[in-house]
Symmetry: D2
Subunit: 388 residues, 4 copies
């Protein structure tokens, strides 16, 4: 399974093609739209989220509610494009018109300057329109296909927020997976801890007032994974490495960790590794899940637990110093319409890119032409390793 995406932030539409999805899998736009909607929610989102409601158009690969096995094309239109035709249209225009909305002032923390130097653009709109996190809408759409598939295989994925601006959620180890889904969905900041939720909202409001922005830590859990997905035999087949790739590739993410993550540097080995137990009924299990569901690049059968850190979004009202690339004069960074905190949305994005990698690894390992056979194969495998 693989996908490509296209589309600019204020362009006509976002597009993705997802190739390699099994045939005969139930899939409707409802599941995808639900994911798109979840991405748009969250305390602290800017106005655009309220203006435009993302809806997917399935433009290929699905017929009568089932996948065909053909590539799936997903389109998310930008409703607002009508106001941007002159600025973002694909047709050649007169040079004098081009001047409008030229961006010559790179914003620190964005791709603007480095992208402009790389691609030779003097109008950095050519960069920021694509480097914008708007593109994550179709990454979510692609991931929603994966999530729908996983769900039907008994594998569930959820993303929520652990920390915003230094406010950390309490750990609630006793929450069931479903509870995590429900509680995070109900929280305006996708946080499992009600008290922290409130503090996070306050911090977001304060940041907005200050013209500043704040980041945070998202966590994604994948429950129901059988052991042995991914592989140790070659470094580029390790599933945790692929997930790290996917998470780090999300706009504004600066790090990723599995299980106890960086805390592993502070504990003794005897306090880190997850002891193996066995019972006739369940097969092999682990007493703990410090390693976040991975050993040797493969799943252990315990839930995958992965965290990613998002930096504060760099589009600030509070000015940062930069330099106009035409005049070379210093200025304080230009302002695009923006959110002050996008961490709750990022948790949804992260959930979906993780789901994609997990689904991809499953498809590589099991027969994947026909969805019902895939489902059967995984069930058999589950039984097989239970009796191993």
């Amino acid at each position: 399974m693989r996908y490509l995406t296209a589309g600019e932030s204020h362009g006509k539409q976002l597009t993705t093609i997802v190739e390699g999805v099994p045939a005969l899998m139930p899939l409707t736009s409802d599941e995808i739209n639900e994911s798109l909607l979840r991405r748009q929610k969250g305390h602290g989102r800017g106005k655009r989220m309220q203006i435009e409601k993302d809806l997917v158009d399935i433009a290929g690969g699905v017929r009568h509610g089932y996948t065909l096995g053909s590539p799936i094309a997903l389109v998310v239109k930008n409703d607002d494009f009508k106001h941007w035709v002159d600025i973002m249209g694909e047709d050649p225009i007169d040079d004098d018109k081009k001047i409008r909305r030229v961006v010559s002032r790179p914003r620190p923390g964005h791709a603007d300057l480095n992208g402009a130097m790389k691609y030779g653009h003097r109008d950095m709109r050519n960069i920021l329109e694509r480097s914008s996190a708007r593109e994550t809408a179709v990454r979510v759409a692609a991931g929603a296909v994966a999530k729908t598939m996983l769900k039907q295989l008994g594998i569930n994925v959820v993303g929520y927020v652990n920390e915003i601006a230094g406010i950390k959620a309490e750990e609630y180890p006793d929450l069931s997976f479903d509870q995590k889904v429900t509680i995070s969905e109900d929280s305006p900041v996708r946080c499992l801890d009600p008290e922290a939720s409130q503090k996070m909202m306050d911090a977001i409001d304060q940041a907005k007032k200050d013209g500043d922005s704040i980041g945070g830590v998202c966590e994604v859990i994948v429950e129901g994974m059988p052991a042995g997905i991914g592989s140790y035999v070659h470094f580029d087949r390790k599933l945790d490495a692929r997930i790290a790739f996917a998470v780090q590739s999300i706009n504004a993410f600066k790090g990723v960790e599995f299980g106890i993550g960086f805390e592993a540097a502070r504990r003794n080995g005897s306090e880190v590794h997850d002891e193996i137990i066995w019972s006739e009924e369940t097969g092999y299990q682990r007493r703990t899940n410090n390693l976040g569901g991975f050993e040797g690049g493969m799943t252990t059968g315990m839930p995958i637990v992965v965290k990613g850190v998002m930096k504060p979004i760099p589009t600030l009202y509070k000015p940062l110093q930069s330099v106009d690339i035409e005049t070379k004069e210093p200025f304080t960074a230009s302002i695009e319409r923006s959110d002050s905190c996008a961490v709750p949305a990022a948790a949804v994005v992260m959930e979906h890119v993780v789901a994609f990698e997990v689904a991809k690894a499953i498809l590589e390992q099991f027969p994947h032409d026909q969805f019902p056979k895939l489902k059967k194969a995984i069930d058999e495998y589950r039984e097989e390793i239970r009796c191993f």
Copy 2:
């Protein structure tokens, strides 16, 4: 540039083929052997490191000290194989001989159990021989080719240790790159902070005494990178994501972060983003490097700063509980010859896998058939972005 590796820990040899190296690049086994040697050093390494000194044999792709443009084959023999022929030989043997050294007891924290279930091996030696960190020797060899290339392009890479068992090194922001190389090389734990070095050694000795193991945090710095390497245009072309992949794929690594990394969740945006300044002489620069040299998946021109966390190696003398897969009886985990702390070696491995990804990204961006032309193209690009 791409590579495959093969070889088991106690097999005949480790092999890698590196395809896509430019022609006419000076390369000798000396550079590679130096990297291999550095990987074998470090306070707390087990006996095997003293027994076997890894030496590379360049078995293709290099002639008279220069690369041909052909794939480069690198071989590291396992000197000890002569004692392992019966156990690890490729030829069929009688079933009664096979019993010897069968491993039926999976070690927590290793690939043993999950790998066995995945691949259907009842003798987990079939897993552990490949999942062993021994394989990192040829990843270092492949990375040494990349490092040699980068060095000749004015790009330098070094890895060192920031933290072991909770003991953190002081930051020495004023050290030059060369000083970092020299000081870390002189430290038995590859640490820039002499005081912390000593404490780390003590902790290692104590862990050994306790039959326990300890992990730590490695940091790799890439200096001399021009801005604009990598790309934001498609998520799988982001260089930081590729580096995250490479680091996470190192045996026993559990996380990776760039610049201030997870700390970004605790600061305001105005304290995170690296302001842009400009002078005629140097072109664009940043006041700070909180983002670790990356914006939008591209380099900013500041040094790449990436950290990776290594868990304590799971081969313990202190027992962890596990289950024999034949008898289903609980036992306390079996002991293979082992190090108590491999973090200093891991820093060298990390240095080399990062170097590989960086070199690969450079080759994708610049003309790469002939090394002298590559060098010229990068120099021109540097000048171009200085004057952008």
Copy 3:
């Protein structure tokens, strides 16, 4: 440069995303539409070609007539979809409605039966909608981007028809490239030989009358290629092999050959190899071009000459025997609306898939972020090898 396509024959639209196109390259829908139009022409096309005129919508990656460096999304709507919503719509429908237009009769020569067995579809419409040559419309669109790029680099590509139903065109070695373009464009069967053109049209008319279909041989020429594109260093980097792949992947193609191709089995080596000559003015040249522009998987600087054979399209009015998969009763194959000869269109498709591979190889070899720099680099390379 890479691309994915999606879309079914009677679905909403065809979509392609082309990733890896340099920034700052002039590109408008005109060039792409011209290619789409050429694909739809040709004596012997069925009615659909007259009903629907393919037009591209550039839905990302291009702004104001220039590429951004971002992925390019291209959409070709199926105007006729409004009549097919019930049959091909993506939304779930009641089971009783599904029965309409179910295809249970596999057509020999099509993907129907094998595809159905592979993907488990009992309604073979689920296969034929995607396996249809309709999809080549977006392969042409993607190829048109490549062709536009090549043209601006001084590299021109044209496809025409050499043979239909055993009628072979005379060779006209003295025609210039431009003459080949013009003459083939004016011929209703895209043939350079006027006399053969007329015979081919007669054969097509006769086949239509007989309810039969006929195939033919297409030839594509790439002129202006510098020597040394592609590589011998690893088998999967040979450009002729990649072109063979692309040509063989066109619907209904059964073979591909370069230069004298299979004739090479009948000549002595002294009559096959292209002798090397040199002059100060032109550098190295060849006396002949028997090898079709390739030695060692690399271009020789002579035009690339590649032929592909297309089988007669398998959708016949003249019945072929097959078996209904539900009743297991023999029948004579069902009839879908069809052309009796699609070779002229296939020549256009082949032209575009070859263009894509050639452009891709060029981008791999030269700096490709900025189009003007790419152009400069190729010009410099041309001069360099002239003086080699």
Copy 4:
């Protein structure tokens, strides 16, 4: 499944790493050596084939006669290297020593000149050592792993010679697969037709006497393939296209065709397509196999039949004109030790590269971690499509 190769013709060794082979598959060096031996045979081979007998060393991935699931490293030593250390050694040498055996005279038909221009080598030995067909030895070794796997899955592959220097073998449609194996093996030119065999040998002898070389056509048959391997859903998943790629990538090949191939341009559709019949016992079958076992890029269940054409090897005793790249003086091409006809060997190479692609496609489609499970899955699939 994927592989990389390394090694120069007179270098130390040839190496390949094959990644992605299932675990628990019986594999010994015997099968690989048999393939290597077959590649070295054939009337008309030069002296080198008699001097050096290729033997494989399995240097990883196999233990006690079974695959581990780890990457497999295969090494074929060049026995003669000891005489070439000065010329081909990897260590730097004094410039005055380098002069020896410098090749400044490009041979028409070889990669020499184009490769030199591309990579900037003035000593074309740097090209010819890698572009030599010597490399096919390890491609055969990698293919032998695939062939061994296929055989155990009930899929057999054989290559033989259909034509040399215009002498065509009679078709023997009644020969069983095993007979084809035996007869071709017994023929010094790997030809099924004894009369043609003799004429081919005479032609080879005559060519040798004349200092000329001759080419031919090889055919590979894959018997036992279930229907539905490969896919039509995306152009790059078509198995025939991948095979075309692999065949065209063999040194000196100039074309490839499936089934009746180019003859399809001369027949009516009603004479080309393979009618579908069905019986309870066998399921679906075809009356004919004109399409060579492929429809829509997928197998039909009939044998795969693919032909490739090899040009006469360009290393001639009979001179061709060329130009010295240092003096720019014309000369008649230099002579390296050579065969006058390599078509019989090429048939073995082609057999193995086809086997690799077929095995790869099978592994993509079926569960491939454990060989016994793969075998079971294919058997089940065979039954399933029989009852479809």
